[in-house]
C-alpha cells in the first residue's frame, strides 16, 4: 500500500525527532516496568523475611517495633524479657519450640545476635526454607560464632578467623579480651540473617560478666579462661520466636503472653506485623509508582508535542494528500497510526531495555540490596499496562490529529508552508 509506504517515508524524513520520541517513551516504560519489578520484588522478599514462626515475643512496646528489632535488626528494644519469664512461657503446654534472641552488641557494623542451636533448627524464610550452612557448622565452643553470608563476604571471613565483638551498636569499647572464632558461615538468604553475627546466649553472658552499665568494672576483669568455669545461664533476653503445637492455640498463647502477670510482655503474629510495617513502607512504594506513571505521561505528552510541532511542516504533505483525493479522515488516521506505531515501538524497546537491564543488573542489585528480582515473561497485569501505554499514545495523538483534520479542511485548495 503506497500510503503506508509514504507514511513510513514521512516518518523516516523526521527520524531524529521520531527516534528521540521513541526513546523517551521506551525509557519511561522501562522505568515504569522496572519500578513494578522492584515493587513486587521488594514486597515479596519483605514478606519472605520470616516464615514458620507463629508468634514473636518481647517486652511490651509496639508490634512493629518488636518486629523491627527482632527480625530486621533495626532499632533497639526498650526493655528486656527476664530469663524467668521466658522459661515460664516456653514451658507452657501450647508451645512446641522457642528460639531466644539476645541483641545489643555489634561487630564492625553488623548486629550480633545471641541465640541457641534452636535458631538454626526453626528459623524459616521464603516460604519455609531452613537456614543452610555454606561452610562449617553450629556453635561447638562457647566462643564460636556463625556469620551470615554478607558478613563473611564483606569482611572476608573464613572458618577459624578470630573476631572481636563491640559493646553496643556503634561503640569503640570492645570485648577484645574474649575474641570469638568463626565456626560457620550461612548460605545467602536475602534476609537480615545475612547481615548478622550469631553467637550463643552463654557467650553473650560471658562477655558481659565483668561489665556494668556499659563499661568494664575496674579491677574485676574476668579472663576468657576463667569465664568458662562460671555459671553462664542468661539473666535476660531481648525477644523470642515461638512455634505452637497447633495453629488453633496461637491466639490463646498470644493472650496468655500479653496478660502475663509478672512482667509486661507483648506477643505478635509476624504476618500481621509484617503487613502493618509494609503499610508504612508501602507509601514510598505508591509514591514510586505515581512518579513512574508521571514519567510515562510526560513521555506521551512529548509524543503529542512532537506530532503537533511537525504539523506545520507537514501542511504541504496534507494538502497534497487532500489534492489527490484523501479524505480528512484519512489524514487523521495517518497521524493516529503514526503515533500508535511510535508508542508501540517505544513500549517494545522499553520492555527490551528492562529485560536487558534485569539480566545485566540482577546480580548487582542482589548484592547491593539483598533484593532478588525474578526474570519472568511480563505478567498479564504488566501486559495490560503496556497496552495501556499504547492506547494512551493513540489517545494523546488525537490532539494533533484533530488539529490536522481541521487544518486540512480550512486550508482548502492551497499549499501552505
Amino acid at each position: 500500500m503506497i500510503l503506508l509506504r509514504l507514511a513510513y517515508r514521512s516518518l523516516l524524513n523526521r527520524r531524529l525527532t521520531a527516534i528521540l520520541t521513541v526513546f523517551a517513551v521506551a525509557l519511561s516504560v522501562a522505568l515504569f516496568l522496572g519500578t513494578e519489578k522492584v515493587r513486587t520484588g521488594a514486597r515479596a522478599s519483605f514478606a519472605d523475611t520470616i516464615s514458620g514462626t507463629d508468634l514473636i515475643m518481647g517486652a511490651r512496646s509496639g508490634g512493629v517495633q518488636l518486629l523491627l528489632y527482632s527480625v530486621f535488626r533495626i532499632g533497639n528494644a526498650t526493655n528486656n524479657v527476664t530469663w524467668q519469664s521466658y522459661r515460664d512461657i516456653a514451658s507452657r503446654p501450647e508451645v512446641a519450640w522457642t528460639v531466644p534472641l539476645s541483641l545489643g552488641d555489634s561487630h564492625r557494623g553488623f548486629r550480633v545476635l545471641g541465640t541457641t542451636d534452636a535458631y538454626f533448627e526453626h528459623y524459616r524464610y521464603r516460604g519455609g526454607r531452613p537456614l543452610a550452612f555454606a561452610e562449617g557448622g553450629r556453635f561447638k565452643d562457647l566462643f564460636d560464632a556463625v556469620v551470615g553470608a554478607d558478613v563473611a563476604r564483606e569482611l572476608g571471613y573464613e572458618i577459624g578467623d578470630e573476631i572481636v565483638v563491640a559493646h553496643g551498636i556503634a561503640s569503640f569499647t570492645k570485648h577484645d579480651d574474649k575474641p570469638f572464632r568463626v565456626a560457620g558461615i550461612l548460605a545467602k538468604t536475602g534476609t537480615p540473617v545475612d547481615r548478622t553475627v550469631h553467637v550463643s546466649l552463654e557467650a553473650i553472658e560471658a562477655i558481659h560478666v565483668d561489665w556494668r552499665g556499659g563499661a568494664r568494672i575496674p579491677g574485676a576483669e574476668v579472663s576468657a579462661e576463667e569465664v568458662r568455669r562460671m555459671d553462664l545461664s542468661p539473666r535476660a533476653i531481648t525477644a523470642a520466636l515461638i512455634g505452637v503445637k497447633s495453629r488453633l492455640q496461637v491466639f490463646t498463647l498470644q493472650r496468655a503472653i500479653n496478660e502475663y502477670p509478672e512482667e509486661p510482655l507483648l506477643a505478635i503474629l509476624p504476618g500481621i506485623a509484617l503487613q502493618e510495617l509494609w503499610g508504612i513502607v508501602g507509601i514510598a512504594e505508591t509514591a514510586l509508582s505515581v512518579v513512574s506513571l508521571m514519567v510515562v505521561a510526560t513521555a506521551l505528552l512529548g509524543l503529542a508535542t512532537m506530532i503537533l510541532s511537525s504539523l506545520n511542516e507537514r501542511r504541504r504533505e496534507m494538502a497534497i494528500l487532500r489534492a489527490v483525493g484523501a479524505r480528512p479522515w484519512t489524514i487523521l488516521a495517518l497521524l493516529v497510526t503514526e503515533a500508535g506505531l511510535l508508542s508501540l515501538a517505544g513500549v517494545l524497546l522499553g520492555a527490551a531495555m528492562l529485560y536487558a537491564g534485569l539480566f545485566a543488573l540482577r546480580p548487582l542489585i542482589d548484592d547491593a540490596f539483598g533484593l532478588y528480582l525474578t526474570i519472568d515473561p511480563p505478567t498479564p497485569r504488566e501486559l495490560v499496562m503496556l497496552a495501556g501505554v499504547v492506547a494512551a499514545g493513540l489517545l494523546v495523538s488525537f490532539l494533533p490529529a484533530i488539529r490536522a483534520y481541521k487544518m486540512s479542511l480550512a486550508d482548502g485548495m492551497s499549499v501552505k508552508i
Binding site: L6, R316, I320, R322, G412, V415
Partner: protein, 245 residues
C-alpha cells in the same frame, strides 16, 4: 431551470460561498463553464478568489447555494467523502509550487494520484509504473532520476513536470493548474507550457489554468478574467470588489 450542457466539464451556476469564521471571505459566481476538451485561462490577481474557486471546483468545499458541476454531476448533492472520491477520479491538480512529497521518489509521487482513485487505476490495467515512467519520459525526465531519488533533489522545473505527470496519470479528464509556472523563469515557463499543452492535447483533457500573469494567455482556447466572473467580499467590511471597482 438552465439547460444542462452535457459537454461541460466544469460548470458553475449562481454559486455563492463564504468561508466559515468571522473574517469569512465571501465569493459569488453567477456563471462559469469550461467545455470538455477546452483549454481555459483565468486571469486573476491575488485576492480575486482564485483558491476559493479552485476549492469549489475540486469539491474541497461545497457551495452555500448554487450548483458546481463536474462532468454534469452536481457536487453540492454529494457528501464530502464522495466529493473527495470524485476529485481523486476526475481531476488532476498542479500547484504553484511544493507539489511533491519531498522525501518520496518522483515515481511514488506520481503513483500517489492513483491511491484514492480505483477508476484511474483500473484504466491502467496493472501498468501503473510503466505509465508513470512513460509520462515522465515524455515530460523529459530521465527514468534514472525519478525512480529512487527523493523528489527534493529535483529542480523546481523538474518538480513541476512531475506534478503534471501526477495530474495526467490514469486520464482523469480535467487538469486544474494553479499558477504552475510562477516559480519558473521565462524560458522554463514557455517550455513547461509547450509540454503541458502537448500532453493535454494528446489525451484530449480539459485544462483550467489560473494565473495572474496575462502574458501566458496566448495559447489557450478561452481567456477570462476572474474579477469579471466572480464577486468577492470581505465579511468585516461588507464591501464587495465589484462595488469598489
Amino acid at each position: 431551470m438552465p439547460v444542462v450542457d452535457e459537454n461541460a466539464a466544469i460548470r458553475l451556476q449562481d454559486v455563492s460561498f463564504r468561508w466559515p469564521g468571522r473574517s469569512g471571505f465571501g465569493f459569488e459566481v453567477s456563471h462559469l463553464e469550461v467545455a470538455r476538451g477546452q483549454t481555459m485561462f483565468l486571469v486573476g490577481p491575488s485576492g480575486s478568489g482564485k483558491s476559493t474557486l479552485l476549492s469549489l471546483i475540486c469539491g474541497i468545499v461545497a457551495p452555500d447555494s448554487g450548483r458546481v458541476e463536474i462532468d454534469g454531476e452536481d457536487l453540492g448533492a454529494l457528501s464530502a467523502a464522495r466529493r473527495d472520491r470524485l476529485r481523486a477520479e476526475r481531476i488532476g491538480i498542479v500547484f504553484q509550487m511544493f507539489n511533491l512529497l519531498p522525501y518520496a521518489s518522483a515515481l511514488d509521487n506520481v503513483l500517489l494520484a492513483l491511491a484514492f482513485a480505483p477508476g484511474r487505476r483500473r484504466r491502467l490495467k496493472g501498468r501503473e509504473r510503466e505509465e508513470a515512467l512513460r509520462l515522465m519520459g515524455a515530460l523529459g525526465l530521465p527514468s534514472s532520476l525519478v525512480a529512487t531519488a527523493p523528489a527534493a533533489e529535483l529542480s523546481v522545473g523538474q518538480q513541476q513536470r512531475v506534478a503534471v505527470a501526477r495530474a495526467l496519470i490514469g486520464d482523469p479528464g480535467i487538469i486544474i493548474a494553479d499558477e504552475p509556472t510562477s516559480a519558473l523563469d521565462a524560458a522554463a515557463q514557455s517550455a513547461f507550457l509547450d509540454i503541458l499543452f502537448d500532453l493535454v492535447g494528446d489525451v484530449g483533457a480539459t485544462l483550467l489554468m489560473v494565473s495572474h500573469d496575462e502574458r501566458l494567455a496566448g495559447r489557450f482556447d478561452r481567456v477570462a478574467s476572474l474579477t469579471e466572473i466572480a464577486r468577492t467580499q470581505m465579511a468585516h467590511t461588507g464591501r464587495s470588489s465589484a462595488e469598489a471597482a
